[in-house]
C-alpha cells in the first residue's frame, strides 16, 4: 500500500492489489464443477477446508442435494479445527508484526502443526486438502483419527492459557493495541466487514447462528462480542472464539454418528446441476465466505463468483489508518488478518 506520511502520522493510504491475481473465477468457468474444488483450496490457503465447504454448500443449495449426517459432523469438525489453527496462527502473526521476534509465532505454529498433521492423515495433504464433495466428503475418517483429534482438543485449552499468559496481560501489547483504530458498529456494517472484526465492533452477527447451516444448531456455543471495536478487541475476540471452537469440537467428536460419508445419489464426475443461480455462504475464520454460482445446465459453471472476506474487510483500512502512526498501520493491518490469496483471487 502507498502510505503518505507527515513525519510519523499517516496522511493518505492507498491499498494496491493484484499481485497475486490469477483470475480464479475464469479458471473455474473453464473447468467442470468437480475440477473447481481443488482451486478453492488455493483461495485462502490458511483455511482450505472451510473454502471447500463454502463451495460445496453453494453447489448443494444450487442443486438441492441433501448431505448425510456423518458427513455434516465431519464437516463441522474439520471447519472448527481450521478456525482453531487460523486464530492461533493469527495470534502469532500479529505478535511478529509488533516485533516480538517470532516466539509467540513459533508456539502458535507448534500447535498448528499438530492440526495440520490431522488434516494430512484425513485428506492426504496438509494444506491443499480438496476433501469436500457435492453431497458430503471424499473419504471416511481413517482409524485412530478421532482418538488423536480428541487428544489434541484435550490439550488445547492448556496451550491457549499459556498463550494468554504471554500475551493478554503484556503491558507493551496493551499499550500498542488498545485504543488503536476504534470502529462503530454502524460503520462496520456499512463497510461490509464480517467475521471476528464485525463482532469486535459490537455487532452480534455470526452466520453459524444466523443461517444455521450444517447442523450448527445442534451444538451449544457462545458468540463473543466486543464493546470498543479497537485492535485489542479484534485480538481478544479471536482468542475467545478459539476457546468456543474447542467447546464445539468436544461436543462434535463425542456425538459423531455412523453412516455413509457422501450422498450416494450425488454424481461427482459429469455433475450437471439444474439451470438457475444460488448464493451459499459460511462463517469462515476470516469472515463471511460466500459463493455465487449461476448454472445454465451444462457441466461447466456459467458464473462462479467468490465473496472474499479478506478483500471486503480491507474496505475500511484507509479510514482506520488515517491519523495513526506508522507502527499502528502494521498493527491495524495485522488485526484485520487478511490472506492475499483471497484478496486477489
Amino acid at each position: 500500500m502507498n502510505v503518505t506520511l507527515d513525519g510519523e502520522t499517516v496522511v493518505k493510504l492507498q491499498p494496491v492489489f493484484g499481485y497475486l491475481h490469477r483470475n480464479h473465477e475464469k479458471i473455474a468457468e473453464g473447468n467442470s464443477w468437480l475440477a473447481a474444488v481443488p482451486y478453492t483450496d488455493r483461495l485462502d490457503y490458511i483455511c482450505p477446508l472451510t473454502n471447500n465447504w463454502a463451495y460445496t454448500l453453494a453447489v448443494e443449495t444450487l442443486a438441492g442435494l441433501e448431505v448425510p449426517e456423518r458427513a455434516e459432523y465431519i464437516r463441522i469438525i474439520t471447519a472448527e479445527l481450521t478456525r482453531l489453527q487460523n486464530h492461533v496462527a493469527f495470534m502469532g502473526f500479529i505478535l511478529a508484526d509488533m516485533g516480538a521476534w517470532g516466539s509467540a509465532l513459533m508456539y502458535a505454529f507448534r500447535e498448528r502443526e499438530k492440526i495440520l498433521d490431522l488434516f494430512e492423515a484425513l485428506t492426504g495433504a496438509r494444506m491443499m486438502c480438496n476433501y469436500m464433495r457435492f453431497g458430503g466428503c471424499r473419504c471416511d475418517l481413517p482409524s485412530g483419527w478421532l482418538e488423536s483429534a480428541g487428544q489434541l482438543v484435550e490439550g488445547f485449552p492448556a496451550f491457549l492459557d499459556e498463550m494468554e499468559a504471554l500475551l493478554t496481560g503484556n503491558e507493551i501489547l496493551l499499550a500498542r493495541l488498545q485504543g488503536v483504530a476504534p470502529l462503530t458498529p454502524e460503520r462496520a456494517i456499512n463497510g461490509g466487514l464480517s467475521g471476528p472484526i464485525l463482532r469486535a465492533a459490537g455487532v452480534d452477527y455470526d452466520i453459524r447462528k444466523v443461517d444455521n447451516y450444517g447442523l450448527y444448531s445442534r451444538f451449544k456455543f457462545r458468540v463473543p462480542r466486543g464493546r470498543v471495536g479497537d485492535c485489542y478487541d479484534r485480538f481478544m475476540i479471536r482468542v475467545l472464539e478459539a476457546r468456543e471452537s474447542v467447546e464445539i469440537l468436544k461436543q462434535a467428536l463425542v456425538g459423531i454418528p455412523d453412516g455413509p460419508v457422501v450422498n450416494p445419489k450425488a454424481k461427482q464426475r459429469g455433475f450437471r446441476p439444474p439451470a438457475g443461480e444460488a448464493y451459499g455462504r459460511i462463517e469462515g475464520p476470516k469472515g463471511e465466505l460466500g459463493f455465487y454460482l449461476i448454472s445454465d445446465g451444462s457441466d461447466r459453471p456459467y458464473r462462479f463468483r467468490v465473496r472474499p472476506p479478506s478483500l471486503i474487510n480491507l474496505t475500511l483500512l484507509e479510514e482506520l489508518c488515517l491519523g495513526t502512526k506508522i507502527a499502528d498501520v502494521m498493527v491495524i493491518l495485522g488485526s484485520i488478518d487478511i490472506v492475499l490469496g483471497e484478496v486477489d483471487r
Partner: protein, 203 residues
C-alpha cells in the same frame, strides 16, 4: 494482584518455561532434523500420481486402458495420453504415451477418483526435485508404472479395498459371462432342438 509490570513478568515466565522445557520435554522441541530423521507420513498422504500394474511385466499387467477420462477431468490438464495402435492401425486398449507433467500437476487426486479402472493412484514419494526443468519433470510411462505390491506397501488399507473391489468386479463379470454363455448355450440348444423338429410343424 495487579501491580504494573505483572503482565510482562508472566510473559517472561512463559518464555522461561519454554526455554527450559525445550531441554526436558519432547513436546517443546519440535524441529525434525530432516535429512537425518525422515518424517513418518500418515497412510493416505499423497504427492504425485503413478500407474499400477498387476503381476510382473509392467507393460502387460497395466490396468490403464487409455480411456482418457482422467485427461479430460484433470483441472490443470497435465496428463497426455496417446492410444496405442497395433500394426493394422486398430486402436488397442493400452496407452502408447502416458505422460504426467509434475511441474503442472497440483496433486489434487481427482484423476484417482474419476478413473473407472483403478489404474492411477497417488504416490507418497516427495523427493522429486531435479536440475533439469523439462526432461525430468515430465514422467513418462516407464517412470510412472509401479507394481501393485509397491502400492500395497504405501497405502495398505486403500490397496486392499481396491483389490477387493476388483475381485468383486471380476467375479461379477465372470458370473455375467457364465450366465450369458449359459443363455447362449440354451439358445443354441433350442435352435438345434427347433431345427431337429421343424418337419412336424410344416405338415
Amino acid at each position: 494482584m495487579n501491580f504494573p509490570g505483572i503482565g510482562l513478568l508472566k510473559g517472561f515466565v512463559v518464555t522461561a518455561r519454554n526455554f527450559l522445557g525445550s531441554y526436558v520435554e519432547k513436546d517443546r522441541l519440535t524441529t525434525r532434523q530432516y535429512p537425518e530423521e525422515r518424517p513418518k507420513l500418515p497412510e493416505n498422504s499423497r504427492s504425485f500420481p503413478f500407474l499400477v500394474f498387476d503381476g510382473e511385466d509392467p507393460e502387460a499387467g497395466m490396468r490403464c486402458v487409455a480411456c482418457k477420462i482422467c485427461e479430460k477431468e484433470c483441472p490443470p490438464q497435465c496428463i497426455y495420453i496417446i492410444q496405442d495402435r497395433d500394426a493394422a492401425g486398430k486402436p488397442l486398449k493400452r496407452p502408447r504415451i502416458f505422460d504426467i507433467d509434475i511441474s503442472v500437476c497440483m496433486s489434487c487426486q481427482i484423476c484417482v477418483e474419476v478413473c473407472p479402472f483403478e489404474s492411477i493412484r497417488m504416490d507418497t514419494d516427495y523427493e522429486l526435485s531435479s536440475f533439469d526443468r523439462f526432461g525430468s519433470l515430465v514422467l513418462d510411462k516407464s517412470k510412472l508404472l509401479k507394481s501393485n505390491a509397491y502400492y500395497h506397501g504405501i497405502h495398505p488399507t486403500e490397496a486392499s479395498e481396491t483389490d477387493a473391489r476388483i475381485e468383486a468386479d471380476r467375479k461379477k463379470k465372470e458370473a455375467a459371462a457364465a450366465a450369458k454363455a449359459e443363455a447362449a448355450r440354451k439358445a443354441t440348444a433350442e435352435k438345434a432342438a427347433k431345427a431337429a423338429h421343424p418337419p412336424e410343424e410344416t405338415k
